[in-house]
Symmetry: C2
Subunit: 244 residues, 2 copies
Amino acid sequence: MTLTVFADRMSQPSRAIIIFCKVNGIDFEEVRIDLAKRQQLTPQFQEITPMKKVPAIVDGRFKLFESHAILIYLACSFPGIADHWYPADLFLRAKIHSVLDWHHSNLRSGAAGYVLNSTLGPALGLPLNPEAAAKSEKLLSASLGKIESFWLKGRGRFLLGSTQPSIADLSLVCEIMQLELVDEKDRERILGPHKRVMKWVADTKNATSPHFDQVHSVLLKLKEKLQSERAVGETSQNVLPSKL
Amino acid sequence: MTLTVFADRMSQPSRAIIIFCKVNGIDFEEVRIDLAKRQQLTPQFQEITPMKKVPAIVDGRFKLFESHAILIYLACSFPGIADHWYPADLFLRAKIHSVLDWHHSNLRSGAAGYVLNSTLGPALGLPLNPEAAAKSEKLLSASLGKIESFWLKGRGRFLLGSTQPSIADLSLVCEIMQLELVDEKDRERILGPHKRVMKWVADTKNATSPHFDQVHSVLLKLKEKLQSERAVGETSQNVLPSKL
């Protein structure tokens, strides 16, 4: 029985699961749960997970949600997954758990909160909230600082000084990619000071090529759309005074 | 070399680690990091963890933070830990990861936010914030509802229908215990509707007796102190009108 991945590629944890499967040659069926159409709220999807969130998987009779739990499950239950994704070594594995746990209340919370409140909210039926966006940006910037100064310490190009990526690299980098949606000058302000983070994002992208870019193409299409809308908005604003 | 646990028993994840060690006969030295005195900000503690948060452990040359990562590490690295704490079975283990991941942005975020903003803030130098408390209460109540209706489904007394507790039971119940600090009527309003949750808290307490109560005694002392202060406050308020 094939693995089924319920996902929306607009969701950063969904993308991490899909890229992991593709990079590791895991055979799976992708079922799109369109968040913009609120398909995560349907009774059918609640049969898969009562939490009404993507991603979720069904593998035979086994259902699972929460992206980190899914990544670990996939790394342990499919044959031939290279050890670097989720090392068997007790100490390395513990450090990976530490990064993944830290992620929830730091980078994830900051980045998702910032993108939602500064840019993406209206597409999901929510208002923009500059105050919440500013609060999230603070957490996001502090988190990027910690990645730069602590998690990326060491000789390797990846988290924990590793020479090859783990599920933690994939999870965190997919989160950072969500910042592609925000205004160019905001992204530059937030990411610009973190050169090692930007290099690590590029390294993770390269290490999972061509799947990384393919899976992110939906996000990058929305980025273009939002850029065009902002350009039109700015032009209108520039034009307005002369019209008044 | 003995395991060192850096903790403040006022911190719910700290208590989970200490109880786990005691119940499982793990020899450890407890080093108190007094959060009320901001000892987590000292350069000495930053040598242990740059995140400035408890709990953290040092085991020989190995340092680790994030309580779930620590619980998993302890369950895997010390001999004789019963399997039910962190089952070797792939599917059970995946479900435990799912509960623990879910916890971060749900019960943990809701309960910690509610207690901090409604009650504990001033003790840590932060103002009370009724608006933030109300928002956190909503998340907390929804999380308790999900524990009641989903995570506690099944025949056993513990999460995931298990007959014996896992590290997830310990982590989540220690979080719920933090509600002991809030006003009795608020706790009743929040916990009252969730009878299965309250039974599960009692079952987890019993399964880890006498360590659970011993480790929580600091919290219960603060509870008494806060109750006395509230009683004095209410008496003053009742007396005021006749004095005016």
